[in-house]
């Protein structure tokens, strides 16, 4: 009996050890404040990066931790974007925080329904269901152009100042601060999730889905839970984009967005939250700097990069780094 208590304490202690903040992490989050002081002209890009990073984290939760390969997560991003845009443009509800929550809830509700399908299938069928759902939502938004504005985008979104005081300014000070705070909250929640026993169970599902029922763990329920959480987070990211840009385009639902975010994850490294953030930073800055290039050639280099990363650094840039400096990989 005493031995059993001992292991439980050790497991808790181990989980606790994992949640400890390292100085690098603190330094990283302090560094995210730098654009306010040194790069004021890049603040709108910075808020785009923060939004994309939140989206990447949401995908990392299902792809990196739970091992569900998804090629259609833009669906939830777009749902959140349209949900928060439509209540402002059609219903005149302009308060940002509740709009954000509404976007997340709509995406989460759809995510919960979809999760029943996701846990039924594996391998190619899983890819096809996620891909098909992504295209389905895109075509639906396109067909309902009287509501969504179709290819012209949704016009007439108007967002009131946050808490009635912080107006969305032209430079993007408010937009970046807002996005950064939401990203940080999303990150904290994700960090809590992946370092909990639930997060461990998810990794168990990823590593060996057959063994989980054998040790008495209901993997379907775990997967549904994380898929819904991830959908909420992606929806919040989409709503953030709507509110900071005050428009919604069909592009939020496009396959390219789903593919880009997977590219970011593989660049940064899957199954590590900072990998998602780092991937988003690298990807967005590279795209911004190379935007003069013909998009065809931009994808040429993305393609080359993908192939090289997969062949040489299967765990992404962060994974490659941590192997280089000899740190134990999880």
């Amino acid at each position: 009996m005493a031995e059993i208590t001992q292991t439980i304490v050790d497991a808790r202690g181990w989980l606790k050890l994992q949640t400890r903040w390292s100085p690098y992490e603190i330094a990283f989050w302090v560094a995210t404040l730098l654009p306010f002081f040194f790069l004021p002209t890049y603040l709108s890009l910075a808020s785009q990066i923060a939004i994309t990073a939140l989206f990447a984290i949401s995908v990392d939760l299902v792809l990196g931790y739970a091992g569900i390969v998804t090629l259609g997560h833009a669906m939830f991003f777009g749902l959140g974007a349209y949900a928060s845009g439509l209540i402002s443009a059609k219903l005149g509800w302009n308060e940002p925080i509740s709009g954000l929550i509404f976007g997340g809830l709509v995406a989460g509700a759809v995510g919960f329904i979809v999760s029943f399908m996701i846990v039924r299938v594996q391998h190619l069928a899983l890819l096809m269901i996620t891909l098909g759902l992504g295209f389905l939502t895109y075509e639906l938004a396109n067909a309902l152009s009287s509501i969504t504005g179709g290819t012209d985008g949704l016009q007439g979104v108007d967002i009131s100042p946050i808490f009635g005081t912080f107006n969305f300014d032209l430079w993007g000070y408010t937009a970046y601060a807002y996005s950064l705070i939401v990203l940080f909250i999303g990150f904290l929640i994700s960090r809590r999730i992946v370092n909990s026993s639930f997060g461990l169970a998810l990794r168990g599902v990823r590593e060996n889905v057959k063994r989980m029922p054998a040790i008495g763990s209901d993997y379907r329920f775990h997967l549904q839970k994380i898929y819904t959480i991830s959908a909420v987070m992606a929806g919040v990211a989409g709503a953030l984009l709507t509110q900071t840009t005050e428009t919604v385009s069909l592009d939020t639902l496009s396959f390219n967005r789903s593919a880009d975010v997977v590219v970011m994850l593989i660049l940064g490294g899957t199954g590590r939250l900072y990998g998602a953030i780092l991937g988003a930073i690298i990807f967005m800055i590279a795209r911004d700097q190379l935007s003069g290039l013909n998009p065809q050639y931009w994808y040429f280099w993305i393609g080359i990069l993908l192939m090289v990363v997969v062949l040489t650094m299967p765990k992404g840039i962060l994974g490659g780094l941590s192997r280089l400096i000899g740190r134990r990989d999880e």
Binding site: R120, H123, Y297, Y299, G303, L306, V310
Partner: protein, 287 residues
Amino acid sequence: MISQFAIVLFDGFAFGMLLFVLSVGLSVTLGLMNFINLAHGAFGMLGGYIAVVVMRRLGLPFLVALPAAFLGAALVSIVFERTLFRRLYKAGELNQVLFTIGLVFVAAASAAYVFGTGLQVIQMPSFLRGSVEIGGMRFGTYRIFLIVVALIVTALLYFGLERTRLGAQIRASVDNQRVAQGLGLDVERIFAITFALGSGLAGLGGALAIEIVGLDPSFGFHYLVYVLIVVAVGGLGSITGSFVGAALLGISDVAGKYFVPEIGSFLIYLVLIAILFVRPHGLFGKR
């Protein structure tokens, strides 16, 4: 109304046969090695461009361009398979997906660089132009040709798989790779051959597609979705499945775009998801 229906059915079936030629190779290779090759459509695109070059630069007839597209795509795919893809058979599906998507990106950009982003056209020989009138309805000659080619391919595949030694080896490897290996079959070699044949068929499909849907650098991506739907709906490693899946998809795509253009493409994805929800392994899949 009835003649309209028959025309849509015919056009849809012809389009379905095109999809069948494009996708049957992927179905077999996926069933054999579980290797998710999203670059399959890119081999189709390669075949299309080979046909364009053969006809326009070398001035050879269309009927020479078709086998050239087959051979060219097959040869290039062998090179890729031996040097790159084989490293990924044991890797997770995420890495396979990413690597082959990367390849599609590179292929599309290279095609745009070499041939420009415009739509490629080729001049059809006179006996494939125009249409034939049967019972007061006009059927496109090229579409009839397409259906005949697809049926010949199907017959060859059936004969090859059921009656030849290689076919028996492929079937054995698809059914149970480990036991096949244990009995002394060189599964890796069998796979390389199958992969080349499948990619060659994709190349043939790409060449056949130019007249129907056109050819531009986005071909690999655009038709990838169709090809994957055929494979997923039909079931892995099943020629019957691919045939039925392709015919279904072709007919419903053409019918959807003809009768309900607003939501035509929407319906296809809905049907795809419904089928996969009820039968995750496809209509004819075993595993």
